[in-house]
């Protein structure tokens, strides 16, 4: 039982880590997000190119379930992530 709990907490830690990684990517690539800017594509493309499928899935899962810690620039890119 105790084991199970610590595992859960680690899953959260993993998601937290992915959320902050994804926000960092969005902050850097969406730096000058303006109308007509393609930053959503660039953010999605970066995550698609560098993240393992499991990482993307966890991020999307989090976005669907809660998502409150995702930055606006990141949210704009989510629908372009490969599943």
């Amino acid at each position: 039982m105790a084991d199970k709990e610590s595992n859960n907490c680690e899953v959260n830690r993993e998601v937290r880590h992915l959320v902050s990684m994804a926000n960092d990517i969005a902050d850097n690539l969406g730096f000058r997000a303006e109308a007509g800017d393609n930053s959503a594509e660039r953010i999605a493309d970066h995550i698609n190119r560098f993240w393992a499928p499991r990482m993307r899935a966890l991020l999307l899962e989090y976005a669907a379930a809660d998502g409150k810690d995702l930055s606006a620039a990141l949210l704009s890119a989510l629908e372009k992530l490969k599943t």
Binding site: N7, V11, E14, D27, F31, R49, W51, A52, R54
Partner: protein, 959 residues
């Protein structure tokens, strides 16, 4: 094939007496002893003679140093000239007629020699240099055996030996005051540690102001020892073991300079070859005969008693290790991995390649992961140092590598050094840079800390921009702002070579007031007028070169900084020729190579994305297996996945992730959660404490292969002795693959290189025969460049047109707060290497035996901290304790330490923050508090207890 497999046994290269003239345009012809010779103008008569095979006796001359003309041994006759000029200092001239042999010359030379010998012990037979002494050679050539002046004369023979350096002795009684050592220390090494006191017969060489070597400025590079013609400066190992008998050319296994060495060996009583000495190889293009204390002397770890040479296994990390046969260890590992994959899925295992292992070995591990494990969960320790370099340079220029050869710096007029400390971390390049600075090139140092190059012997940086840790991008943007807004850019170059829309976009961005030095000085801490002056100096130079290190990459915006650096170089037209460029200084010896070899989870060898079906097809065809098209997990994500319960098995080649990766407690928890951790290394490293299988690897002396240094130079590593564990590292990986059912058959690493060449366009022209012939090759090496490519991007960028990436400054999350008011940054010391596993096991500990915390006097006083006090360092990740050094090398608000010693656990305080693009950890910025303490931290106590337990478990295996 056989010629490749034999070690190349070298004869010592002939010493031509004086160096080749630099940049000589004209040729002159002259006659020497009746033979005609044509040489470059500026060549000395001595060198011209030597090129003809005529050996003029010499003592003070050697071709690694400019001629000095003090010994008068090399006199010659020149027709039409009075007297007998010294051939080493006399330039050859057109039409000269030179005579090097005559009765008169011989008599004069004998007289001079006898004077030297009269002041020199004559017991050659018991002298350690016997057979390796130039004085002895000259005496033999001249037929002088005994001296008429006798042994009892006035001489220095009673002077005491200096044994203070752990690796060499200075015996003044043997010294003939030829000044070679002094010149080597000044001209080559640039440390100015040696002096000559007194005049004439009374003159005497000494370290510092009559100090011992250890107390002087000496950094133990060994240049003086190499240059000494007698036994006055001699390796202790030569004194103890005798003159070496055999020499094999190989490559240093320490840092990214990749110096070439001759490993000099001697057979011991049992007939086994032992290393006597490592001598820097004069023909090595990376170092041209120079070395540093690590490569030159610190090889004792290779035969250290802590080496583990038998495979070991255990079911859990609380059990004692069991020594087993290779067969059993491999079978155990394979069955564990198979079982894990069948239970938890194909993606539940992975591998980590080492940037200390060879290209061939790294290639094989990623092949095992991709083809054998069937996933792309492969990463490398280069992740934690230079992954942003790969990303940043690929994005802007099109290739993930530095643009120059090291000797390019000889043509630079202004050098900007960002977040790099080459005199400590890349010493041989540091010496080369210092030579160029002494010739008048200007230097801009961008570093939070005052490094040696800011103000060293005979060197002073034009600007030291002492920025706050974590503000590199702001600094680079401010530089660019000055260059663009003051019209200093090289527009012609940009128009020709770069992508114009990206340039215009970038200019619009960089011109914004938010990027002005005035606006940013509050962020970076760099006074705006100083930054403007530095930008003008940089942009106004004929050739401006940028060199950078981990102080650029190990940040949350490491990749952005690298792109900012490339932008600056493109905007000022400083790419594509010698003397300029963007030059990452790599940490470990094979960081470049391990990245080239496809160690990243998203990239196949040659930096080609795994999603590219054409490239994948090429590999699938060669490897006869279907490859997974999605990127795998990076190291930090492997740890997360391990703690998430879905990643269970890790094969770790020669990398100490428990010590070198940030946030140690998180890493340790992840390692503990694995069901099978396989560590392949030469020592039971920190990571191995969590391992179930230990596979003993080989040192660079015990295997064949290649390393690739920071200038893309591929050099051979040659086996000089059999592996102590019985297997070279590539053989272990091969056995494991075969046991897992993925067949691999290689009989020599050259076959692995052939496979790399077949699969990688930038390596297609590389093979061992060519490496033997050329000595080394800088990739790309292919049909277009059959002998390699010293300077990249010459006519166009690899990408085609250069791309200006927008480099917005996004401050790190890691900021000083009330609770953690100081910023901790990390670095290296000269004598130690990385996590120190090797150097800590050598005499190098006399220079540094612990990690120290540098703290500014103001911060120290606030906290009542004095030098040598124990100081507790706490961050939000953890805390540790180390000793303080109060110094103004750091600025107020910043503290600094190294991470060479595991007891310190410097990474216990670093956080999981990382570069946005590559997840290279943010080692260079951690918010901390420092307090005076009396006891070790909780972590250190727990760690010490765990160490004792693991040591006991090891001892059980070894009885």
């Amino acid at each position: 094939m056989s010629d490749i497999q034999q070690p190349l046994t070298q004869l010592r290269i002939l010493d031509l007496g004086t160096p080749a003239p630099r940049d000589s345009a004209a040729q002159v012809s002259l006659e020497i002893d009746g033979q005609q010779v044509q040489v470059d103008a500026g060549t000395s008569v001595m060198r011209a003679a030597a090129l003809l095979g005529i050996n003029v006796p010499k003592l003070c001359a050697t071709d690694s140093l400019d001629a000095f003309g003090s010994c008068r041994m090399c006199l010659v006759e020149i027709e039409g000239r009075k007297g007998m000029p010294a051939s080493c200092t006399t330039p050859a001239e057109d039409g000269m007629v030179v005579n090097t042999q005559s009765g008169k010359l011989e008599k004069l030379r004998k007289n001079v020699l006898e004077l030297y010998i009269s002041d020199h012990p004559l017991d050659c037979v018991s002298c350690p240099s016997n057979g390796g002494c130039e004085l002895q050679d000259v005496a033999a050539d001249l037929g002088v055996e005994e001296t008429r002046y006798g042994l009892q004369g006035l001489n220095h023979q009673q002077a005491a030996k200096d044994e203070s350096n752990p690796y060499f002795t200075f015996d003044p009684s043997m010294c003939i005051v030829c000044y070679r050592c002094v010149r080597a220390c000044d001209d080559i090494q640039g440390s100015f540690a040696l002096t000559v006191d007194g005049r004439g017969f009374e003159s005497k060489v000494s370290a510092g102001q009559m100090e011992s070597f250890m107390d002087s400025e000496c950094v133990s590079c060994g240049a003086c020892v190499n240059s000494c013609p007698t036994a006055a400066l001699e390796d202790k190992a030569v004194i103890e073991m005798g003159q070496p008998q055999k020499s094999t050319v190989t490559t240093c296994a320490y840092c990214g300079v990749g110096c070439a060495f001759e490993v000099e060996t001697r057979a011991n009583d049992q007939g086994a070859d032992e290393v006597v000495r490592m001598t820097p190889y004069k023909d090595g293009r990376a170092n041209e005969g120079h070395a540093c204390v690590k490569g030159r002397f610190a090889f004792g770890y290779t035969s250290h008693k802590d080496r583990i040479t038998k495979p070991m296994i255990r079911d859990s990390i609380d059990e004692a290790w069991r020594e087993v046969s290779w067969g059993e260890a491999i079978a155990f590992t394979a069955s564990r991995f198979r079982q894990i994959q069948s239970e938890y899925g194909r993606d539940s295992v992975g591998g980590i390649t080492s940037s200390r292992c060879s290209n061939e070995e790294t290639f094989l591990v990623q092949k095992l992961v991709r083809a054998g494990f069937g996933n792309n969960n492969v990463d490398t320790c280069a992740r934690v140092c230079h992954s942003p370099t790969g990303y940043g340079l690929k994005t802007t220029l099109g290739e993930s590598a530095g643009t120059q050869a090291f000797d390019s710096v000889d043509k630079a007029d202004v050098v900007m050094l960002i977040g790099a400390n080459p005199t400590e971390a890349h010493p041989v390049f540091g010496s080369r840079l210092k030579q160029r600075l002494r010739e008048g090139a200007q230097l801009i140092v961008v570093d939070p800390r005052k490094t040696e190059l800011v103000n060293g012997p005979h060197i002073r940086a034009a600007h030291h921009l002492q920025l706050l840790p974590g503000t590199n991008v702001a600094f680079l943007n401010a530089m660019a702002h000055v260059i663009i807004s003051e019209g200093l850019a090289d527009e012609d170059y940009v128009n020709q070579r770069c992508e114009i829309p990206s340039w215009e976009d970038w200019c619009d961005f960089i011109r914004l007031e938010e990027n002005s030095p005035e606006h940013l000085q509050a962020v970076t801490g760099i006074p705006a007028d100083e930054l403007r002056a530095a930008a003008r100096l940089f942009a106004g130079a004929g050739n401006a070169a940028i060199y950078y290190g981990l102080g650029v990459t190990e940040h949350s915006q490491g990749s952005t900084s690298v792109m900012g650096i490339a932008n600056l170089a493109m905007a000022t037209g400083n790419l594509g020729r010698e003397g300029v460029g963007v030059n990452p200084l790599r940490g470990q010896n094979n960081v470049q190579g391990s990245c080239d070899m496809g160690s990243f989870p998203h990239e196949l060898p040659g930096y080609r994305h795994i999603s590219d079906a054409n490239v994948r097809g090429l590999f699938e065809n060669e490897w006869q297996v279907k490859l997974h098209e999605e990127p795998g997990l990076r190291i930090p994500n492997m740890f997360d996945a391990a703690l998430g319960g879905v990643f269970k098995g890790l094969y770790c080649q020669g990398e100490d992730i428990a010590q070198s990766d940030p946030d140690t407690q998180h890493v340790e928890a992840a390692l503990k959660s694995l069901q099978c951790l396989v560590v392949q290394d030469i020592f039971l490293n920190e990571t191995a404490r969590f391992a179930h299988v230990f596979l003993p690897g080989s040192t660079f002396l015990e295997k064949n292969g290649t390393f690739t240094n920071a200038e893309r130079r591929i050099s051979r590593v040659r086996k000089v002795m059999p592996s102590r564990s019985g297997k070279e590292d590539w053989e272990i990986t091969m056995d494991l693959a075969n046991a897992l059912g993925y067949p691999m058959q290689y009989s020599h690493p050259s076959e692995i290189m052939d496979e790399i060449a077949r699969l990688t366009p930038t390596f297609s022209g590389v093979n061992y025969a060519k490496l033997d012939r050329l000595g080394s090759i800088q990739w790309p090496c292919n049909e277009a460049a059959p002998e390699g490519t010293p300077t990249m991007h010459v006519d166009e960028f690899v990408r085609g047109k250069g791309y200006f990436a927008i480099t917005g400054f996004v401050p790190t999350r890691e900021r000083s707060t009330r609770k953690y008011p100081l910023l901790l940054t990390t670095g290296r010391v000269l004598s130690q290497y990385n996590v120190g596993a090797q150097t800590r096991r050598t005499g190098n500990v006399v220079w540094a035996d612990q990690d120290l915390l540098e703290i500014h006097p103001v911060d120290a006083e606030d906290r009542g901290i004095c030098t040598n006090d124990w100081v507790g360092i706490a961050s939000r990740a953890g805390d540790t304790v180390l000793r303080a050094v109060v110094t103004d090398r750091v600025q107020p608000g910043v503290v600094y330490t190294t991470f060479h010693f595991p007891e310190t656990g410097a990474n216990i305080v670093t956080t999981e923050n990382s570069d946005w693009a590559t997840n290279c950890p943010e080692y260079k910025v951690t918010a901390v508090q420092a307090t005076k303490v009396t006891r070790p931290s909780e972590w250190q106590k727990k760690n010490a207890a765990f160490n004792r337990r693991q040591k006991a478990l090891l001892d059980k295996a070894r009885v």
